[in-house]
Symmetry: C2
Subunit: 227 residues, 2 copies
């Protein structure tokens, strides 16, 4: 799931020494920077974030950051790629061979889990799309488009087989995305409306169950499956 993103970065020898005394430096430092950058970008957006902020959060001088990532844009792209790969990972759970209740339940569970564990990534993605996707347009047009089309076919088949009510598959997908990602993108609003406290484990469970219940009932997937 990650290989696409990794650079070869000197994979010649070092097969006998104690693991990787120096080769690991680059990897560790890049990880450190990426993590800091993800947070800062999600908080301030691409232009709002400064390389100085990112360097500070990573605890290194700015020049060092630029040694590993030549430009702010390159750093940003790397992060987008990671987010997208996580997203695609969850998308796998929406496979062909399941019935609607099973497939959609699993998919919604995964998406909610990602909203909880990777809220920064979700925000960055949302930010990108809201600003016209200047960086990720190609992802939208290729990978995301293909995935969406293929899933719409599956949903349409469920409809044709009478497993769910006839709704536009597109809007069902949008609703799932919107409802699940809302818990990442609007976490601040949710927290404020929750008396300033972030959602507890139980509240997260409730949220996940309610989203699933409403959507599955909403498309009539349960009334057939139940009996």
């Amino acid at each position: 799931m990650d290989q696409i993103l990794k650079k070869p970065t000197r994979a010649k020898k070092s097969a006998r020494n104690k693991s990787a005394p120096k080769a690991g430096i680059r990897q560790k430092k890049e990880r450190l920077i990426l993590k800091a950058a993800e947070k800062v970008f999600s908080e301030f957006g691409f232009r709002g974030a400064t390389t100085q902020m990112i360097a500070d959060r990573a605890g290194i001088p700015k020049a060092n950051l630029h040694y590993y990532f030549p430009t702010k844009l390159v750093l940003y792209r790397k992060i987008i790629e990671e987010i997208f790969s996580i997203w695609l990972d969850a998308a796998q759970s929406f496979d062909e061979n399941s019935d609607p209740v099973e497939a959609l339940s699993r998919y919604i569970d995964k998406k909610m889990e990602i909203s909880r564990s990777h809220p920064f990534g979700s925000k960055i993605w949302a930010n990108e799309v809201m600003h016209g996707a200047p960086i990720i347009q190609d992802y939208l047009e290729t990978t995301l488009r293909q995935w969406t089309d293929s899933r719409m076919v599956i949903i349409q088949r469920w409809i044709d087989d009478g497993l769910i009510d006839p709704i536009d598959p597109r809007h069902l997908l949008y609703m799932i995305w919107a409802s699940t990602q809302h818990y990442a993108d609007f976490v601040h609003q949710i927290k404020t409306l929750n008396g300033g406290k972030k959602l507890s484990d139980t509240q997260w469970d409730n949220a996940r169950e309610d989203v699933k219940t409403i959507i599955l009932n909403g498309i009539g997937a349960t009334k057939r499956a139940d009996k």
Copy 2:
């Protein structure tokens, strides 16, 4: 709906002359700037937007913009206030005396309409919240909080009266917000997945109906109302 935002701005005489020969200048120019600013802020975010961009789009020199709005922040705040007032306007349709199907249908209709007619505002709001609501925190804690609480009571009453299934009112509201605002905030993604063409009138109708259907069915509001 607007009075809060307007400045007194010389309301002495001019009650006999031909309307407002000069008094109108300020108002017209402010409108012009606000409209330009809304677009630019929604496209580039607060920091991404420059006062130069806004001035250019309004067709005036930057210094003139700063004559009417001393700082970028003041301009931004003004826009946020307007957005919020539009939002509150729609919120009215969610009144006490209706049954769930009627109240929620009307509310979702209004929200979808706003997503279509005021996508810029929705994006700016989303952007604010995603970045921790640095400007609008007070709105979240006061007005929005109160409104949300009062509507949750109504929804809870519906549940107690057996009019809808027992779900957490909070999550129902979040789902409505998420699903409807998605069509504004993610319009670019939706457009791309729609073959690069923005949604037609029919597609908007379908979206609106599907969102309503799924949510109303999802909470079991229709199965009681139908018979």
